[in-house]
C-alpha cells in the first residue's frame, strides 16, 4: 500500500505531496518557451532544445499540477468535497444522451450500439436503474441492429460488425432481463463469427474489414459471454495475439506495431478467456503497463505519450487482471531470470487455474474460463497505484456539468465517461481479494459514497449482470 506522510480523512490519501509534483513541473527548472509553439526556441540558448513530446507533456503536467496543488492546499472538508464523484450530474448527462443526441453526433451514426453501451454501462456502475420503457426501447433498437444472418451492426440496416456486436451484447447483458438476453440470436451470431474468422486464426471486424487484436477480443468476449465459444472460434487466436506482443512488453494492434494500452487489454483479456495467458510474456507485460502510470497519476496509452482518462480502464484493468495470474507470472520469471537455458524454451505450457493438461476435444467449456477467473481470488494486491489513479479520475476527468473526459482542457464525451468510470471501479476493487467483496474505506478515494458497482474485468460488464447472463446462457 502507498506510504503516506500524514494522516488523512477517510477515503485514503492522495499519494503525491506538492513538493514531489512541483519538482517535475517547476517552470524555473525548465527552459520552457512561454507559448510552447516553437520547441526549438529555447529561452536559454545553452540549454537543449525541447522536443514536441517534452513540450506537450509539460503543458499537461502544468495543468494537472495546478489541480493537485489546489487539492493539497485545501482544508480536509474541502478536500472531501473536491474528491466527490458527481453522481447526479453524470447520471443526468448519460440518461439524457439515451433519448437525445445533437446533429454533431452524425459522426457516430455507425456506432450507435456503442453509444448505448457507453451510457447504459456507466449508469449501471452508478447503480442507476433505467425505466422499463427505456430498457425495452433499447432492446428493440438493438434488435433492429441485429443482422438477420447474425451479429449486430452500427445502426439499423448497416453491415454487422464485431465491435458493435460487442457493444450491443454488453448492453443487453447490462439490462439483464429475460427479454434482453433472449433477443440475442446466438446461432446466427456464431455463424457470423465463423465468417469473420481469418485463416491466420484472427478475426476481421466485418465482411472485408480490418484484422487486429480488437477484433479478436470483441469476438472472444461476446462468444464467451453468450456461451458459443468453441474450438473452431478459438483456434489460432492465442497465437495471433502472442505475435502482437512487442519488445516493450505491451501488445500492439497488429504484429510489429507499437505497444498500446487498448490492444494490451484486448489481447490479455482474450487470452485469459481462452485459458492461454501463458502465451505472452507476462512479467514483461506487467513491467510495461506499470510504467504507463505517470506523475499525473493517470495512465498513458503508449510510452512517452500523454495521459488519458480512458486508459484508466484499458491499462488499469489489464494490470489488475494479472493479480489472478501470479502462478504463471512466477513460473515465467523463474524461467527467464534464473535458468541459464535459452529463453526460447517454454517452461510454462500449463494452463492457468490448476487444470492439468489442456483438453483438445470440442467439449471444452470455454465460458467457464470467464466464470472461474472471477471466482478465483486475487493472489496479490494491485501492482499499479490504485489510489493515484482514482485521484486522476476524480480530479482531472470529471466535468462539473456531468460526464468525464480524457484530460483537463478536453471536452467530455460518452466514451470517456464509460471508461473513466470503469477504471474507477477497477481501482476501487483492486485491493480486495475477491471480486465481490466490499472495498474498505481506505481503498476508496473521497467519500465512501464514491464506490461504484464491481465489474467483471474480462468483459467490462457489472458483475451481478454477468452472473445473471452466465446462468441464462449456460442453460442454452
Amino acid at each position: 500500500m502507498p506510504q503516506h506522510s500524514r494522516a488523512q480523512p477517510s477515503g485514503g490519501a492522495p499519494p503525491l505531496t506538492p513538493p514531489q509534483v512541483a519538482a517535475s513541473m517547476d517552470p524555473s527548472s525548465q527552459s520552457a518557451p512561454p507559448t510552447g509553439d516553437d520547441p526549438a526556441a529555447a529561452a536559454d540558448p545553452e540549454l537543449p532544445r525541447l522536443t514536441v513530446t517534452q513540450v506537450e507533456q509539460m503543458k499537461v503536467e502544468a495543468r494537472v499540477g495546478d489541480i493537485y496543488r489546489a487539492l493539497f492546499g485545501a482544508a480536509p472538508n474541502t478536500k472531501s468535497i473536491m474528491l466527490e464523484l458527481w453522481r447526479d450530474e453524470h447520471i443526468e448527462y448519460l440518461t439524457r444522451g439515451l433519448r437525445h443526441l445533437g446533429p454533431a453526433f452524425h459522426v457516430l451514426d455507425a456506432n450507435r450500439p456503442w453509444l448505448c453501451y457507453w451510457m447504459v454501462h456507466p449508469l449501471a456502475l452508478l447503480d442507476e436503474a433505467l425505466d422499463d420503457d427505456l430498457e425495452n426501447d433499447i432492446i428493440d433498437f438493438l434488435a433492429r441492429c441485429q443482422d438477420k444472418d447474425g451479429g449486430y451492426s452500427g445502426g439499423p440496416g448497416q453491415l454487422p460488425h464485431l465491435a458493435t456486436t460487442y457493444a450491443a451484447v454488453n448492453t443487453l447483458v447490462t439490462i439483464g432481463s429475460e427479454r434482453a438476453l433472449s433477443s440475442i440470436n446466438r446461432d446466427n451470431l456464431y455463424k457470423f463469427m465463423l465468417r469473420m474468422k481469418d485463416i491466420s486464426g484472427a478475426f476481421r471486424m466485418h465482411d472485408g474489414g480490418e484484422i487486429d487484436v480488437r477484433a479478436s477480443y470483441t469476438a472472444i468476449s461476446v462468444a464467451s459471454l453468450v456461451n458459443i465459444l468453441d474450438v473452431e472460434l478459438a483456434k489460432g487466436v492465442g497465437d495471433y495475439i502472442a505475435s502482437c506482443q512487442t519488445y516493450e512488453g505491451g501488445i500492439a494492434g497488429e504484429p510489429y506495431a507499437e505497444a498500446h494500452g487498448g490492444y494490451t487489454f484486448c489481447g490479455l483479456a482474450a487470452l485469459i478467456l481462452l485459458n492461454e495467458a501463458e502465451k505472452v510474456d507476462l512479467p514483461s507485460l506487467i513491467g510495461w503497463v506499470a510504467f504507463r502510470q505517470g506523475v499525473e497519476c493517470g495512465f498513458q496509452g503508449r510510452n512517452n505519450k500523454l495521459v488519458d482518462g480512458c486508459y484508466s480502464f484499458w491499462q488499469g484493468a489489464a494490470i489488475a487482471l494479472t493479480q489472478k495470474l501470479i502462478t504463471i507470472v512466477d513460473k515465467q520469471l523463474k524461467s527467464s531470470y534464473f535458468c541459464k537455458r535459452p529463453s526460447g524454451e517454454d517452461a510454462c505450457s500449463t494452463s492457468s487455474y490448476g487444470c492439468t493438461a489442456k483438453k483438445f476435444s470440442s467439449a471444452v467449456d470455454y465460458a467457464k474460463f470467464g466464470f472461474d477467473f472471477i471466482q478465483q481470488s486475487n493472489q496479490i494486491g494491485p501492482l499499479f497505484h490504485n489510489i493515484a489513479l482514482q485521484q486522476y479520475i476524480l480530479l482531472c476527468s470529471q466535468v462539473l456539468e456531468g460526464g468525464l473526459r480524457d484530460k483537463p482542457g478536453k471536452n467530455r464525451d460518452h466514451y470517456h465517461s464509460c471508461y473513466c468510470l470503469s477504471g474507477l471501479s477497477v481501482s476501487q476493487y483492486s485491493a480486495m481479494t475477491d471480486a465481490d467483496s466490499c472495498p474498505l474505506p481506505q481503498h476508496v478515494l473521497g467519500p465512501y459514497s464514491n464506490l461504484l458497482e464491481p465489474i467483471h474485468p474480462l468483459y467490462n460488464v457489472v458483475l451481478d449482470k454477468y452472473h445473471t447472463a452466465y446462468e441464462f446462457f449456460s442453460k442454452e
Binding site: P2, Q3, P15, Q20, T51, V52, T53, R99, H100, L101, G102, P103, F105, H106, V107, D109, A110, C116, M119, D133, D137, D140, F141, R144, S153, G154, P156, G157, Q158, L159, M205, H206, E210, T246, Y247, E248, G253, Y256, A257, E258, H260, A290, F291, Q293, V295, C297, N303, N304, L333, S336, Y337, K340, P342, S343, I380, G381, P382, L383, H385, N386
Partner: protein, 326 residues
C-alpha cells in the same frame, strides 16, 4: 458542407429511386438529430444499398455519404463492391481517399480502404503510400494508423531502402518519439536488406547508449536496448557496454529509475559482482543504512520503492517475488 440545395433528391439520375428512411422504430434510443442534408443522402444510400446496385450513380452516392460520415464502414464496404464491379480506376480512387484521410487521419475505415487499394495496385504504389504516411506523420509523428499502414506497405510492397534513415531523422527531431523507436526495431529486425538483428545489434547498442546518455529520463531507448537482446538474456549480461551505461547514469544520478530498473534486470539475469557495481551502490547504501549489508538486488529494490513512489506496489511485489523464486 451544404448539400440541401444540391442533394440527391435533386439529381436527375436518381429520379426513379425511392429513398428508404432509417428504421429506428417508434420510440428511438440514442437518436441522432440528423441535419436534412445528412438524412437525405443516407435515405438514398439505403435505397441503392438494399437493392445491391453497382453503378456510377451508386458510387457517387457513396462519395456523398463518406464525406458526411467517413466512419460509416457499411458505405465503404459497398463502395469497394462497386469499384470492383465497375473496374474503376484505382489510382483515381487512391487520390480520393487520400484527400479524405488528410482531414480524418485517425479513422480506421479510411486506412483500411487505402490498404485494400494498395494491395490491388501492387508495388508500383509503394512510393506513393510512403510519401503519404510521411506527410501524415509530419503533422502527427505518432499517428498509430499511419505507422501501421507504413509497416504494412513495407512488408507487402517494399521500400525498405530509406526506412532506417527515416527513423534516424525522426529521432533527431524528437528522440522521445516512441513510435519512431518502435519503427526502428521493426526495420532492424524485419528489413530484408539489413541482415537481421544479430548483424546490426552491435551498432544499434552504440546508437541506443548514446541516446540514453543524452537523455537518461527518456524511457524509449532503455526499452529498446532491452529489446535488442530479446530472448538472449545471457548475451545481455555479458555485453559490458550495457551494464556500463547503467553504472554511468547512476554515478551521475543514483535516483534514475530506468537505470535502476535495468540494473535490477541485469542482476536477476546473472550480472556478476564487480568493483564498478560496488562503487555504484555505495552512495545508495550510505544514504540508506538499512541496506548496508543487503545483497545488490535487495538494495536496488529498496531504493526503487523510495525513488519511484508511483510504482511502490509494483516494486514491493517484485522484491517479494524475487526472494521467493531465487
Amino acid at each position: 458542407m451544404e448539400h440541401a440545395k444540391s442533394g440527391p433528391s435533386s439529381w436527375p439520375e436518381l429520379a426513379d429511386v425511392v429513398p428508404v428512411p432509417q428504421d429506428d422504430g417508434p420510440s428511438p434510443v440514442v437518436p441522432i438529430a440528423y441535419r436534412d442534408d445528412f438524412r437525405e443522402v443516407m435515405d438514398y444510400f439505403r435505397a441503392l444499398y438494399f437493392t445491391g446496385e453497382r453503378s456510377p450513380r451508386a458510387l457517387r452516392l457513396t462519395t456523398e455519404a463518406i464525406e458526411l460520415n467517413p466512419g460509416n464502414y457499411t458505405v465503404w464496404h459497398f463502395r469497394r463492391l462497386i469499384l470492383e464491379a465497375l473496374d474503376f480506376d484505382l489510382l483515381e480512387e487512391m487520390k480520393f481517399v487520400g484527400k479524405i484521410a488528410e482531414c480524418n487521419p485517425k479513422n480506421y475505415q479510411i486506412w483500411h480502404h487505402k490498404r485494400w487499394l494498395a494491395e490491388k495496385l501492387g508495388p508500383d504504389i509503394a512510393n506513393n503510400e510512403h510519401e503519404f504516411t510521411m506527410k501524415i506523420l509530419a503533422i502527427d509523428a505518432k499517428n498509430y494508423h499511419a505507422w501501421s499502414h507504413r509497416q504494412w506497405v513495407l512488408q507487402a510492397l517494399g521500400g525498405w531502402e530509406t526506412e532506417l534513415e527515416y527513423c534516424n531523422q525522426l529521432l533527431k527531431e524528437d528522440v522521445f518519439n516512441n513510435s519512431a523507436w518502435n519503427q526502428r526495431y521493426f526495420v532492424i529486425t524485419r528489413s530484408p536488406l539489413l541482415g537481421g538483428l544479430t548483424v546490426v545489434r552491435d551498432s544499434e547498442v552504440d546508437y541506443t547508449i548514446e541516446a540514453i546518455l543524452a537523455n537518461p529520463q527518456n524511457e524509449s531507448p532503455w526499452r529498446y536496448l532491452k529489446g535488442l537482446y530479446k530472448g538472449e538474456n545471457n548475451l545481455l549480461v555479458d555485453d559490458e557496454r550495457i551494464s556500463g551505461v547503467c553504472f554511468k547514469v547512476l554515478k551521475n544520478d543514483w535516483t534514475c529509475v530506468f537505470a535502476l530498473s535495468f540494473l535490477l534486470d541485469l542482476l536477476c539475469t546473472g550480472l556478476q559482482p564487480s568493483d564498478e557495481l560496488k562503487s555504484t551502490l555505495e552512495p545508495i547504501r550510505s544514504s540508506h543504512p538499512e541496506t548496508a549489508d543487503a545483497d545488490p538486488v535487495t538494495v536496488v529494490c529498496c531504493i526503487l520503492q523510495k525513488c519511484d513512489p508511483l510504482r511502490v506496489n509494483y516494486w514491493s511485489w517484485f522484491k517479494a517475488t524475487l526472494s521467493q523464486v531465487s
